[in-house]
């Protein structure tokens, strides 16, 4: 790729490589720099650390696969964190995305007032990791919270304490996640915005109804964005940390019922001085996420429609 390229060598192997890659690599240059200089080094370090005992304050000591064995065979809290996270992923991802898409469709109009609502609906997301959320959430879903007042007033139901009863606490965090649907909504709105209007007009001319238009135009045209949201939400939910950290004040409680994978990883790494173990946890999680993401990418050829005609 050096300056050896001259016209008569343009057909040589190097010349062809240069011709093919020069411009794309120019566009990728910042990314290459960032990835190879800033991202990959620390990633590889953490892979190395996963085979060591590392307490942060003294040098790491090689222990082979001990961390992995300990984690998968002996650590019951680890298995609990895995269970909590998998439950969370499978419940919260469809709920949040479904809700975000429904609201985005509802708000995807030129009505003036809707500007205001779009912002309003984003507010919970803005408050995301605020320290005040813990207090607030107890007020909304605690034993005497607003939600239970409503249940009691409207239906006469005596409901449990959703935040701190270990049977329900995970679902109160799912509720918090769904409530903070703003980012997914924004991405859906952006995606809806990108659908060419003339497609709908053409379909109307052909006498298509609302439902028909939705399935024949909106769904396929929006599919790349749906796919994006799905992949990102999946990865994000596997790594979910802030909500559980804030609501349980870092404990993952009560009784580890909200001990998310990364919350446990964080406790291990920073509170228990076991960064080697935490690194091993991280790499197992990476494999798990990688596997699920690969499956999603595999299915995408059947349902994701790219206007560029390519396959994923």
């Amino acid at each position: 790729m050096e300056q050896t390229v001259t016209p008569h060598r343009a057909h040589s192997y190097v010349g062809r490589l240069w011709k093919k890659n020069a411009v794309p690599f120019l566009f990728l240059l910042p990314w290459f720099l960032g990835t190879f200089v800033l991202t990959l080094g620390p990633m590889i370090s953490s892979l190395y650390l996963s085979f060591t005992q590392y307490d942060l304050l003294t040098p790491a000591k090689w222990v082979g696969t001990a961390n992995y064995e300990n984690m998968l065979l002996e650590d019951t809290r680890y298995l609990q964190s895995l269970k909590v996270t998998l439950t969370y992923v499978f419940v919260s991802v469809p709920l949040k995305l479904g809700f975000a898409l429904a609201v985005a469709m509802l708000l995807n109009k030129g009505l003036r007032a809707l500007h205001f609502y779009r912002t309003l609906y984003y507010i919970p997301t803005l408050l995301g990791g605020s320290v005040a959320i813990a207090v607030l959430w107890r007020q909304m879903f605690g034993a005497d919270g607003l939600f239970n007042l409503f249940l009691h007033g409207a239906f006469g139901i005596e409901a449990p304490d959703w935040v701190s009863d270990p049977t329900y606490s995970l679902y109160s965090i799912v509720a918090l996640t769904v409530w903070q649907f703003g980012s997914s909504m924004v991405i859906f709105l952006a995606g809806l915005k990108q659908i060419p209007q003339d497609l709908y007009e053409a379909a109307e001319v052909d006498g298509a109804g609302k439902i028909q238009k939705f399935f024949s135009i909106t769904v396929p045209m929006l599919s790349p964005v749906v796919f994006f949201n799905l992949v990102i939400q999946l990865i994000g939910s596997f790594q979910a940390f802030t909500q559980a950290f804030v609501v349980s004040r870092g404990t993952g409680g009560p009784i580890d019922s909200t001990l998310f994978y990364t919350l446990y990883l964080y406790q291990k790494g920073f509170s228990h001085f076991e960064m080697g173990y935490a690194s091993a946890m991280a790499w197992i999680l990476l494999l798990l996420i990688g596997f699920c993401t690969a499956i999603l990418f595999g299915t995408s050829r059947y349902w994701v429609h790219y206007a560029d005609g390519g396959k994923s």
């Binding site: 566009f27 990633m43 109009k109 309003l120 803005l126 005040a132 924004v186 999680l285 996420i289």
Partner: protein, 280 residues
């Protein structure tokens, strides 16, 4: 798509308003708390406080030990603008390459990019700190901004790739016929059409950087360089006294820039503005 017919419009309004109240409650609570004296914030949970005070705003704005809250706001603003700029430029470039161009080992590079999103960041914090420390970047804004310029937020690359791939290729073709090279196509055709994705990137980068407590905590040591998330935490100390009132008051103040950014940019999401020129 035309606006809703009248009866449906009312129904829609009723629905979004009911939802809106649920969404609005937290901010009302925050605002109400910010006007309460300290001894009422957690003991009197009503929205309309029994006593109202402006003290929290005064104390909060005065900041900590001579560093006013305005300084935290200014630092955050600068940091966010640099981050937004960095992400817009670098991620859109990478996304264009992945979404439109053909090059060697493309799938492998793309896979690598996805993998960088998948590793929980807690375990790379220390190696990364060591790296930035060796570069002499600790206690500057560099560890918080240079990575953005180098497209390390792969989230946004992937986002823009999905949007760019949603644009019909015929457009590039017509550009090519007009004599545009890949660089002009990127700048003149793809970027304008990917505006919703760019706006999304700008909004998210701004808000996420604005709220990012942990990395700003790690890399900024001098209080004069502290940002809003650090400033807010300075009011609190779980081991002794917290100045909750000031924290709530400044939380309200610090929400304003994010709200303004969001409100002013989200109008670009309304359907039916710049669709002309796209042939489906």
């Amino acid at each position: 798509m035309q606006a809703y017919p009248r009866p449906t419009a009312w129904l829609v309004h009723a629905l979004v308003m009911a939802l809106g109240i649920l969404m609005l409650y937290p901010i009302l609570w925050l605002i109400s708390s910010s006007f309460k004296p300290d001894h009422l914030i957690f003991s009197d949970l009503r929205l309309w406080p029994a006593e109202i005070t402006l003290d929290n705003y005064v104390k909060g704005w005065n900041g900590i030990s001579g560093t006013s809250f305005g300084s935290f706001l200014a630092n955050s603003m600068l940091l966010c603008l640099l981050a937004v700029l960095g992400n817009l430029v670098s991620c859109s470039m990478a996304a264009y390459a992945f979404g439109r161009l053909d090059f060697s080992l493309k799938n492998i590079w793309f896979g690598l990019m996805m993998v960088t999103i998948m590793l929980p960041h807690h375990v790379t914090i220390i190696p990364q700190y060591v790296l930035f420390h060796k570069l002499g970047w600790v206690d500057t804004f560099s560890p918080l901004t240079v990575p953005k310029l180098l497209a390390t937020d792969a989230f946004f690359i992937f986002l823009m790739v999905q949007f760019i791939r949603g644009l019909p290729r015929d457009l590039d073709e017509s550009g090519r016929i007009d004599g545009c090279g890949p660089i002009q196509i990127y700048w003149r055709i793809v970027m304008p059409l990917a505006l919703p994705a760019l706006i999304t990137t700008a909004i998210f980068t701004f808000i996420w950087t604005w709220d990012d407590f942990f990395s700003q905590l790690l890399y900024l040591n001098t209080p004069a360089k502290y940002t809003v998330p650090l400033g807010l935490r300075l009011f609190l100390d779980s081991s002794s006294q917290s100045n909750w009132g000031a924290m709530m008051a400044m939380s309200v103040v610090s929400l304003i820039p994010s709200l303004v950014i969001f409100f002013s940019l989200q109008r670009y999401f309304v359907e039916g503005i710049s669709t002309s020129g796209i042939k489906g």
